[in-house]
C-alpha cells in the first residue's frame, strides 16, 4: 500500500489568508454604512473603482512576475487595500484620484517591494499620503454631511461629479460644499484647527452647525461604525488588542493632557477619538500585520507612538488629520521596535 508522507503537524486550524482578509473587509461594513448615510453613496462608487483598479494592478504585476494570478489575488489583501483607500478619500474626489492611489499602493508600495508580506509601508496609507501631497485640493474637499448641504445631490449627480467634475446642473465640488448657511464646509478637524488659528475658542468653533455637542456631525457616527467593526475583529481574533488599545489610550491621554493644559484651544478627548480617521486607523490601518510591529510589547509601543504622533500633528502640524503620516513614520521604526522587544524565551533569563 502506498502511503502519503507529510511533515508534522498534520492538523491545521483552517484559518486562511483569504478568510482573514475577507473578515477585515466585512468588518468595514458598519463604518461604510455610516459613511454612505452621512456623506452619500458616492463612497460606493469610489469603492467599486478601487476594487477594479487594485485587481487589475495586482493581476498585471503578477503576470509580469510570472506568478499565478488567482491564488494571490484571491487572498484578498489587494482588495482590502482598495477598500481602505476608498474609505479614506473624499467621496466626491475625481475618479482618477482613487485610480492613481490604488495603482501606487499596489504596484509600487506592495508589489515592487516583493508583494504581500514584504512591503515596508502600509500600502493604503502610503497611497493616501501620495494623493494628499500631490492633490491637496481634491483630497481635502470633503462634503459636509448631507443634512447640511444647501442642495442635496442625487446618486447620478454624484456619479457625474466624480467622472466629469460637475453635476448635470453644472455645480462643481467646491460649489456643492457650500452649506445651508452659505459658508464652505470643511471637516470638523479642519474647522477646529482653522478656527483656533484664527483665535476662536474651541467652544466657539464647535457652536457651528457642523458640530453637535461632542464632535462633528456624521463623523462621530462613522467612527462609531469603525469601532464596532474593530471590536468584531478583536472578538474574532483577527487582530490583537495591543495596537488599537495602546493607540487609543495614547491619543486619549495626549488630548486629555492638552485639554487640561489649554481648554480653550483644545477640543478634548472625545472629539479626538471620534473625529477624522481615528477609529478606522486604530482597528484597520495601524493593525495591518505586514507593516506593523510583530511582538506584543512592540505593538504597544507602536500603537502608543502612533497615538502621540496623531495628536501632535493634529494639534501642531500643518494637516488636520495625521493617521497616514503617523502610521508611515512608525512603519519605518518597526524593525527597531521588533528588535528591542523580543519576548523572553522559555528557559532564558532564569537562574
Amino acid at each position: 500500500m502506498k502511503l502519503t508522507m507529510a511533515s508534522s503537524p498534520h492538523n491545521h486550524s483552517h484559518k486562511s489568508l483569504s478568510r482573514l482578509m475577507m473578515t477585515v473587509i466585512a468588518a468595514c461594513i458598519p463604518g461604510l454604512i455610516a459613511q454612505v448615510f452621512f456623506f452619500g453613496s458616492a463612497v460606493l462608487i469610489q469603492l467599486v473603482l478601487a476594487l477594479i483598479t487594485v485587481s487589475a494592478c495586482e493581476a498585471a504585476v503578477l503576470l509580469l512576475r510570472k506568478r499565478k494570478v488567482w491564488p494571490t489575488l484571491s487572498d484578498g489583501s489587494a482588495w482590502l487595500t482598495g477598500v481602505l483607500l476608498a474609505l479614506s478619500i473624499p467621496p466626491l474626489a475625481p475618479w482618477w484620484i482613487i485610480v492613481i492611489g490604488c495603482m501606487f499602493a499596489i504596484i509600487i508600495v506592495k508589489q515592487l517591494y516583493g508583494g504581500l508580506g514584504f512591503n515596508l509601508f502600509n500600502p493604503a496609507m502610503a497611497a493616501y499620503v501620495l494623493l494628499l501631497v500631490s492633490f491637496p485640493v481634491q483630497m481635502t474637499s470633503w462634503l459636509p454631511v448631507s443634512d447640511l448641504l444647501a442642495s442635496p445631490i442625487s446618486f447620478s449627480q454624484q456619479l457625474s461629479v466624480i467622472f466629469n467634475g460637475f453635476t448635470s446642473a453644472g455645480f462643481s465640488v467646491d460649489q456643492l460644499r457650500v452649506a445651508i448657511d452659505g459658508t464652505t464646509m470643511a471637516t470638523p478637524l479642519d474647522t477646529v484647527k482653522t478656527d483656533v488659528a484664527h483665535h476662536l475658542t474651541v467652544a466657539e468653533s464647535m457652536s457651528k452647525p457642523l458640530f453637535n455637542d461632542w464632535f462633528g456631525l456624521g463623523w462621530g457616527w462613522v467612527n462609531l461604525g469603525f469601532l464596532i467593526g474593530g471590536l468584531y475583529l478583536l472578538k474574532a481574533k483577527i487582530i490583537n488588542w495591543h495596537i488599537p488599545v495602546s493607540f487609543l489610550a495614547s491619543l486619549a491621554v495626549c488630548s486629555g493632557i492638552g485639554y487640561i493644559a489649554a481648554p480653550g484651544t483644545e477640543p478634548g478627548v472625545v472629539f479626538h477619538l471620534f473625529s477624522g480617521a481615528t477609529m478606522l486607523g486604530a482597528f484597520f490601518i495601524a493593525t495591518d500585520p505586514v507593516s506593523a510591529s510583530t511582538t506584543n510589547r512592540g505593538r504597544l509601543i507602536y500603537g502608543a507612538l502612533i497615538g502621540l504622533l496623531v495628536y501632535l500633528i493634529r494639534t501642531f502640524g500643518g494637516y488636520p488629520d495625521a493617521m497616514a503620516f503617523s502610521v508611515l513614520l512608525l512603519n519605518m521604526a518597526v524593525p527597531l521596535i521588533d528588535y528591542y522587544t523580543q519576548p523572553r524565551t522559555y528557559g532564558h533569563g532564569v537562574k
Binding site: T4, N11, H12, L20, T294, Y346, G347
Partner: protein
C-alpha cells in the same frame, strides 16, 4: 520552597504562554476497554527503541526464545535491552525499517511466535522496600524500560540521578489530540501506576509527587485520585486542556511555575518528569518481574472501524494493528505514528511497534485536511501568540529561509520544541516546523564541520612545527658548508648585493622592505648576468644532497610528479631558508630583517618548493582542494603547478592567522622564479575559490596560467603585495579567517585579468597598471567611507594589488629599474594602506 509546596498543595496551577486548542478527537477511542489482540504472525523487534546505544545481541538466528527472554544485554552508554514479546523462533536477525521519520533500517530480531506464549522464568520482588537503590535501578535497567511518552530516554538513567529531586512530576497530560493510551491506562491500571510512582519515590525521595492530568480526562483523574488516596506525598493536579501542556518543560512550568533554564535538564532544578506508562512498566518490572514487552497503543482515525486502545506487543507490525481494528484506507492514505501534531507519517505499515509508539493514527482527509500551498507570510504573528516557548516563529522562519544561522541562534532556535503550534495556526499554511528542523540539522552539521576543521588545524599546526624544526636542523647543517666557500665567490655575491643596494638606496633607502626586495633582485641579476655560475651550481648540488630525503618525502605526500629533480632539491634548500626567515620573523617581529636574511639565500626555484610544506599544510586542512591542484597541473610549467599548490596553501594559512608566515611568503615571492610566482598568485586565487566553490573561475585562472614571463612578473608583484596585506590584515582584524579569504579573491581576480594584456604589449600593460592604480585609489576612498572592518580590508587589498602591477612592464624592460620601481610602488601601496587604516 515550603511556600511553593504549599501553593502546589493548595492546587495552584501556573500558566504557559501560547498554546492552541485543536479538536481533541479523544472520545472515539475511549468507549471501550484496552483490547487484547491475537498474536501476530511475526514480530519485528528493533534493537534500538530508545535514546542511547543498542544493547549487545545475545541470541542467534534459529534460536527458540521464551516470552520475556532478553534478546540483548546492555553494554554501557545508555544502552537498554529488548526482550522477546512472546515465545517463538528467531527466524532472522537483520536490518528492518525502523519506527523513525526516516524509516532507516535498524537491526531487528524477527520472531515467529509459536503460539504458546510461554513466559520465561520471572523474578517478581515481593517486598520492593527491601531492595537497595542499586538493585532497584538494575531491575529497571534490565527490564528495558525507556520513556514511553515519546522520547524514549532510558528510565534507569533518570532514576539513578545524583541530583537532589524536589518534585517528581508524573506526566499524565496527554495533550496531543486523538491519543488516549495514557488516559485508558490510568482508568484501568491506576493502582499499578501509583505503585510505580512509589517505587520512583523510593529511588528519588522527592518532597512531593505531582501528577498532572488535563481536565478533559475526568475519569482518569478520579481513578488516580482514588488510587493515590493513601499516599500524602502524591497529589493529582488538574491542568487546563491546552496543547502542548504535556511537553516536559511546559508541564514543569504549569505545575511548579519554574522554568528549566535553556540548555539544562529538569534534574538541574530538582525536577524529574516520568510518563505514566513508564511508571506502570516500572511497577510491572519490579512487582511482577515482567520486562517491557508490550504497551498500550491508541489505534484511531476515521479510516479505522474499531477505534480504541490495544495492548500491543513490541514488534507487532502496524499492519497487524490496523487489520485487527479494521482499516479501510482512502486514496493518499496517511498513517501517522504518534499524534497529529508531532507524530510522523510512516512510509510502510510493515514497521514494528516500539517502546515509544503511543498512537497509530490513520485519518481520512476530512478530519485532517492535507496541507495547502504555502502562501506569503503576512507577519500576523499568530505563530508567536501560539508559541509555548515564547519564540518568534515568524522571524525564525525568515532567518531559516535565508540561512542566517547566527540570527537563528540569536533568536533561540534551539529552544524550539517542535510542537507544531505555530504551523497549526499559520493562516498562510507555512510549514514552519519543517523549516526549523532543516535549519537545526544544517546548523548541527555546520558545527560538526567546524569541530572537524579545528581538529585538522591542530594537527596541521603540530605538523608544521615539526617540519620547521626539521628544516632548521637541516639549515644549520647546510650553513656550515657555505662557510667553506672560496672568498672569490663570496666577494662576487657581495659585490652584486652592494651594487643593487646602493642603487635602490638612492631612490628609497628608508624602506627596509624595498631594500630586501632589491637585494633579492640583485641576487637574481647576479645569477642572470654572470654566465659562469658553476660554483653556485656546485653549492646548490651540495645542498641538494643534504636535502634529498626530505624532499622526496614531501614529493610523495604531494604527488607532484611534475617537478624535476633539480627543482626539488633546490626547493628543499629554499624551504630551509624560508623556515629560517620565518623563525627570525617570529622572534623579532621585524620582517625586514628576516627578509634580508632569507632572500639572498633563496634561489629562484627555492621559493617554489619552499612552499611545498605550506601546500601540504593546506592539504591537511582541506582535502577537497586536491582536485583543484590536479587541475592546475597540466599547465605548461610544472613548477608553476607546484607553486600553485603552495600558494593556495599560503592563502589558507593567511586565513589561519600566522602573521609571520605570511611575511615569509612575502619574502619568498620576490625571489621566486617568475613563472612560479604567476602560478602562485593564480593558485592563491584558486584556494579562495575552492572555499567559495566557484568552479568556472578556476578554469579561467587555469587559462591564464601559461602566460609568459612578463605576466609572471606582474603576478609576482601582486602576490607579494597580497602577502603583505594578508599580514597586515591579520594584525587588524579580529575575525580574520573569513575576511582574509574574501580579500584574497578580490585581490587575485583583478591582477589576473590584467596579466595577459601586459604580455601582449607593454604599453597596454602600462595602461592597465594605471587603471589598477586608479582602482586602488578608489578603493581607498571607499574605505574611508565604510565602517565595516571587513570591507576595509578588502579594499586595502585592492590597492595593494593594483600598485605592484604597474611595475610589471618596466621590470621586463630593465630589471634594475624595475626593482627600484617596485620598491617605490610597494612603499606607495603601504602608505595607501596605512592611510586607509588611519581613516578607518
Amino acid at each position: 520552597m515550603e511556600k511553593l509546596i504549599d501553593q502546589i498543595k493548595q492546587g495552584k496551577v501556573w500558566s504557559i504562554p501560547g498554546g492552541i486548542h485543536p479538536p481533541g478527537q479523544k472520545l472515539q477511542s475511549t468507549t471501550q476497554a484496552i483490547a487484547r489482540l491475537p498474536l501476530p504472525d511475526k514480530l519485528v523487534v528493533s534493537l534500538k527503541q530508545h535514546i542511547g546505544a543498542n544493547g549487545k545481541l545475545i541470541v542467534e538466528k534459529g534460536q527458540q526464545v521464551l516470552k520475556g527472554q532478553a534478546l540483548t544485554k546492555p553494554s554501557g552508554n545508555w544502552s537498554v535491552p529488548v526482550h522477546a514479546p512472546t515465545s517463538g523462533l528467531i527466524s532472522d536477525i537483520c536490518p528492518m525499517p525502523s519506527a523513525h521519520p526516516s524509516a532507516l533500517p535498524e537491526l531487528s530480531v524477527i520472531i515467529e511466535p509459536d503460539g504458546k506464549d510461554n513466559w520465561c522464568e520471572l523474578n517478581p520482588v515481593p517486598d520492593a522496600k527491601a531492595l537497595s537503590h542499586d538493585e532497584l535501578v538494575d531491575i529497571i535497567h534490565q527490564s528495558g524500560i525507556a520513556g514511553m511518552g515519546g522520547a524514549g530516554f532510558p528510565t534507569y538513567v533518570k532514576a539513578d540521578t545524583r541530583k537532589a529531586i524536589e518534585f517528581l512530576i508524573v506526566n499524565a497530560v496527554e495533550c496531543e489530540p486523538y491519543i488516549t493510551a495514557d488516559d485508558m491506562l490510568m482508568r484501568e491500571h491506576a493502582d499499578g501506576i501509583i505503585a510505580g510512582i512509589e517505587l520512583m519515590q523510593q529511588l528519588l525521595s522527592p518532597q512531593l509527587t505531582i501528577i498532572g492530568i488535563e481536565d478533559n480526562k475526568p475519569d482518569a483523574i478520579a481513578a488516580m485520585k482514588q488510587a493515590a488516596q493513601h499516599n500524602d506525598s502524591i497529589i493529582v493536579q488538574t491542568v487546563p486542556t491546552v496543547y502542548p501542556s504535556g511537553g516536559e518543560k511546559q508541564l514543569i512550568k504549569l505545575l511548579t511555575g519554574k522554568e528549566v533554564p535553556s540548555g539544562s535538564i529538569p534534574a538541574d532544578i530538582g525536577m524529574l518528569v516520568q510518563n505514566v506508562g513508564t511508571l506502570f512498566a516500572v511497577n510491572q518490572a519490579v512487582h511482577e518481574g515482567k520486562p517491557l514487552i508490550e504497551r498500550v497503543v491508541t489505534v484511531t482515525g476515521n479510516t479505522i472501524h474499531k477505534q480504541g486502545n490495544v495492548w500491543a506487543l513490541l514488534g507487532t507490525e502496524i499492519k497487524h494493528l490496523l487489520d485487527c481494528q479494521g482499516f479501510s484506507p482512502v486514496p493518499q492514505q496517511r498513517v501517522v505514528m504518534g499524534g497529529p501534531m508531532m507524530g510522523f507519517t510512516l512510509p510502510t505499515v510493515r514497521i514494528g511497534v516500539v517502546k515509544t509508539t503511543n498512537c497509530i493514527l490513520a485519518p481520512d482527509h476530512h478530519e485532517l485536511a492535507e496541507p495547502g500551498d504555502e502562501k506569503a507570510c503576512i507577519r500576523c504573528s499568530a505563530c508567536a501568540d501560539a508559541c509555548p516557548a515564547s519564540l518568534l516563529p515568524q522571524q525564525l522562519q525568515w532567518f531559516a529561509k535565508s540561512k542566517e544561522y547566527d540570527k537563528l541562534n540569536e533568536h533561540n532556535l534551539f529552544d524550539c520544541i517542535e510542537c507544531g503550534a505555530c504551523a497549526y495556526v499559520c493562516p498562510s499554511e507555512i510549514p514552519l516546523v519543517q523549516y526549523y528542523r532543516v535549519a537545526k540539522a544544517e546548523i548541527k552539521e555546520q558545527q560538526a564541520e567546524q569541530i572537524k576543521a579545528e581538529r585538522a588545524k591542530e594537527r596541521f599546526e603540530a605538523r608544521k612545527e615539526r617540519l620547521e624544526r626539521e628544516q632548521e636542523e637541516r639549515q644549520n647543517r647546510h650553513k656550515r658548508k657555505p662557510a667553506a666557500k672560496s672568498d672569490g665567490e663570496k666577494q662576487k655575491v657581495a659585490d652584486a648585493l652592494a651594487r643593487v643596494k646602493s642603487k635602490s638606496d638612492d631612490k628609497d633607502s628608508k624602506s627596509a622592505v624595498a631594500a630586501a626586495i632589491a637585494r633579492a633582485k640583485a641576487k637574481k641579476q647576479g645569477a642572470e648576468i654572470e654566465p659562469d655560475n658553476s660554483e653556485v651550481a656546485k653549492e646548490r648540488a651540495a645542498r641538494k644532497e643534504q636535502a634529498r630525503k626530505y624532499k622526496e618525502q614531501k614529493a610523495l605526500e604531494q604527488g607532484e610528479e611534475g617537478v624535476d629533480k633539480d627543482d626539488k632539491k633546490s626547493a628543499v634548500a629554499a624551504a630551509i631558508a624560508r623556515a629560517k626567515a620565518k623563525k627570525a620573523a617570529q622572534a623579532t617581529e621585524e620582517n625586514a630583517s628576516a627578509e634580508t636574511e632569507a632572500a639572498p639565500k633563496d634561489d629562484k626555484k627555492a621559493a617554489v618548493a619552499a612552499a611545498i610544506a605550506r601546500a601540504k599544510a593546506k592539504k591537511a586542512a582541506q582535502a577537497a582542494e586536491h582536485q583543484t591542484e590536479a587541475d592546475s597541473a597540466p599547465v605548461d610549467d610544472k613548477k608553476a603547478a607546484v607553486a600553485a599548490a603552495i600558494a593556495r596553501a599560503k592563502a589558507k594559512k593567511a586565513a589561519q592567522a600566522a602573521e609571520n608566515q605570511t611575511e615569509a611568503e612575502a619574502e619568498s615571492a620576490p625571489v621566486d622564479d617568475k613563472k612560479a610566482a604567476v602560478a602562485a598568485a593564480i593558485a592563491r586565487a584558486k584556494a579562495k575559490k575552492a572555499a567559495q566553490a566557484a568552479e568556472n573561475q578556476t578554469e579561467a585562472e587555469e587559462d591564464s596560467a601559461p602566460v609568459d614571463d612578463k605576466k609572471a612578473a606582474v603576478a609576482a608583484a601582486i602576490a607579494r603585495a597580497k602577502a603583505k596585506k594578508a599580514a597586515k590584515e591579520q594584525t587588524q582584524s579580529d575575525d580574520s579567517s573569513q575576511q582574509t579569504n574574501d580579500s584574497s579573491t578580490e585581490a587575485d581576480a583583478q591582477p589576473q585579468s590584467d596579466a595577459p594584456e601586459s604580455s601582449e604589449d607593454k604599453k597596454k600593460a602600462a595602461v592597465a597598471a594605471a587603471i589598477a592604480r586608479a582602482k586602488a585609489k578608489k578603493a581607498a576612498k571607499e574605505q574611508a567611507q565604510s565602517d565595516d572592518s571587513s570591507e576595509q580590508i578588502n579594499d586595502s587589498n585592492d590597492e595593494a594589488d593594483a600598485k605592484p602591477q604597474s611595475d610589471a612592464p618596466e621590470s621586463s624592460e630593465d630589471k634594475k629599474k624595475a626593482a627600484v620601481a617596485r620598491a617605490i610602488a610597494r612603499a606607495k601601496a603601504k602608505k595607501l594602506q596605512q592611510e586607509g587604516n588611519d581613516k578607518s
